[in-house]
């Protein structure tokens, strides 16, 4: 995977996260609602940064789809939290790929390393009581 391919894939994951967190936020309340909105804002900021990185590399950032179909119907708080967890798992994978494709000490590498950390922390929070079952190596393929 080239850096450009990893950046486009990461951008696609963040397009999904922006849509998915908006959907999930409509089904949760209280601290979970606040956490979903924070994650949504982070995903928007990262989406914009990824798009900017692609433009600076002479690439055209992929546009978001009009809508996305979640992996399971979101009908309440439980399914919304499951969606949030799946969004962070996708982020972990995209961040791993970004790191693996990037060069030492460059901006893409730094972005990927910090993104992976944020996604793992957020995944553990969404997993709640199941956090101990989260993978030992977040984002690793296979």
């Amino acid at each position: 995977m080239t850096v450009d391919e990893a950046l486009q894939a990461a951008l696609g994951v963040e397009h999904q996260a922006v849509y998915g967190y908006g959907l999930a936020a409509a089904h949760v309340a209280g601290r979970q609602y606040s956490a979903a909105l924070t994650a949504l804002a982070d995903a928007e900021a990262r989406r914009d940064r990824l798009a900017d990185l692609l433009r600076r590399r002479g690439r055209v950032p992929a546009a978001a789809a009009p809508a996305y179909l979640p992996p399971a119907p979101v009908t309440g708080a439980t399914s919304a939290l499951a969606l949030c967890l799946s969004l962070e798992h996708a982020a972990e994978g995209a961040a791993w790929d970004l790191i693996a494709a990037s060069s030492p000490n460059d901006e893409v590498r730094t972005l990927g390393v910090h993104w992976l950390g944020v996604a793992a922390v957020r995944a553990a929070k969404w997993a709640g009581a199941s956090a101990s079952a989260e993978p030992a190596l977040p984002g690793r393929p296979g």
Partner: protein, 130 residues
């Protein structure tokens, strides 16, 4: 309107490491020191201390997470610890938290993308408190 899936289809790559395969096929290649060796050794040392610390605290499940980290760092036989063993962490949770920044720095500077991703993933796991 076509509605694409939210998930989460990730890449189907990286399981194979073609760079390593190419290197293995090279004849009479001059052996050069691995530029990531020091970072890997430091990360292994931390993981061994965590394993011993969590084992001593009776937290076998958490120790197993760090055994997985050690295996990912290329130590195929993380238990029992090879001699001489590093001193176990007296407060493993403190060591988990304090190791994050160094692991992230090592990941950012790593020459190999795979090593970088592994170090960053371990840092992420530690960031999540594991």
């Amino acid at each position: 309107m076509r509605v694409p899936p939210v998930t989460v289809s990730r890449r189907a790559l990286l399981l194979a490491t073609p760079v390593l395969a190419v290197a293995a096929c090279r004849d009479r290649a001059p052996s050069r020191p691995d530029p990531d060796a020091a970072a890997i050794a430091a990360a292994r040392d931390t993981e061994r201390r965590l394993i011993d610390g969590y084992d001593a605290a009776g937290a076998a499940g958490v120790a197993d997470v760090h055994r997985a980290h050690l295996v990912a760092l290329g130590d195929a036989t993380p238990s029992p610890s090879p001699a001489p063993a590093p001193a176990p962490a007296s407060d493993p949770q403190l060591l988990v938290r304090s190791s994050v920044a160094a692991l992230q720095r090592a990941a950012i500077g790593a020459h190999s993308g795979q090593v970088a991703a592994t170090l960053a993933s371990i840092a992420a796991s530690h960031s999540a408190g594991r």
